[in-house]
């Protein structure tokens, strides 16, 4: 299976993502933001980082870069696109997934492990996943998911909420919400479920001795689902 990771100026999780995808069997290519054409891919990943120094709004400049025209066309024709952290911010700014990511509610950069509950397994990203709660890592300043009431109703009606921040038993409540996100939302899909944006970093959880392996579970499962 072929994947492509887009590098924007200021991306800093692009190589981690390359390591993770390669480790679990993807043939991965790195793609520069100024390129126009995407290599033939089964999965496109927009990685984490601080593209364009987070100028204007996080992800806003990167969402207008040359390669994004191809990424948007790829997504609109049903291709799998995943945006992690800053990649999620780029996805909302490009309009591929609804809503926005505001500054964290308590104005702090958050860097810690969190648990997330996988709500919807009726999609390529989480189908057949045998765990309901995963431990991932978050590191962000703007991860506070927000959308209008009308958008919230629409994403709930269409089962577009992918993952929620929760405790290790899968309970979601205000105490466990790290950044003030509406409904503890940590990740959402587009309507067709071929685009996933999420703040947590699965690529940071792929080494047994360093981090635990919930990221490994996620990537192995994803590869099997794409095959």
């Amino acid at each position: 299976m072929k994947s492509s990771v887009i590098t924007f100026p200021g991306s800093n999780c692009d190589r981690d993502m390359d390591v993770a995808l390669t480790k679990f069997g993807f043939k991965n290519k790195m793609v520069w933001h100024n390129d126009k054409e995407l290599p033939k891919s089964d999965l496109i990943v927009l990685p984490g980082g601080f593209s364009y120094g987070d100028y204007l709004r996080c992800g806003s400049m990167a969402s207008k870069s040359k390669i994004m025209h191809s990424v948007i066309n790829f997504a609109k024709s049903g291709g799998l696109v995943m945006g992690i952290c800053n990649g999620f911010q780029i996805l909302v700014e490009s309009g591929l997934v609804p809503g926005v990511l505001l500054r964290n509610k308590y104005l702090q950069f958050i860097c810690k492990n969190v648990h997330v509950k996988v709500e919807n397994k009726d999609n390529t990203f989480f189908k057949n996943l045998d765990k309901k709660v995963l431990e991932f890592h978050i590191a962000h300043n703007e991860g506070n998911y927000f959308c209008t009431n009308d958008q919230l109703k629409e994403i709930e009606d269409n089962n577009q909420i992918a993952i929620y921040y929760c405790d290790q038993n899968g309970n979601t409540n205000d105490q466990i919400n790290p950044n003030g996100s509406i409904k503890n939302i940590a990740g959402i899909f587009n309507k067709e479920k071929n685009v996933l944006g999420m703040m947590p970093h699965p690529e940071r959880m792929i080494d047994e001795s360093l981090s635990g392996e919930d990221g490994s579970i996620f990537f192995k499962n994803l590869l099997n689902n794409i095959k």
Binding site: R57, R103, K105, L107, F146
Partner: protein, 80 residues
Amino acid sequence: MKVSAVITLKKDVLDPQGKVIHETLDGMGFNSVNEVRQGKYFEIDVKENDPKKAKDLVEDMCKKLLANLVIENYKIIETQ
């Protein structure tokens, strides 16, 4: 000509920075503040001398890049 755009957060969007600024002002003795909302101001010099066209151009920029209409409103001010 120069055209300015002011971007403000919509009414229902939480503005934690504005809230902290409000509290700090309060602590400094400015006790008559009801609310503070932080926004952005852009001064854009466009190659266009017709005021209407210049404003339309900046409005298009606001819609496509400068503002995120999910959370922000924009106001165009003709400055020169």
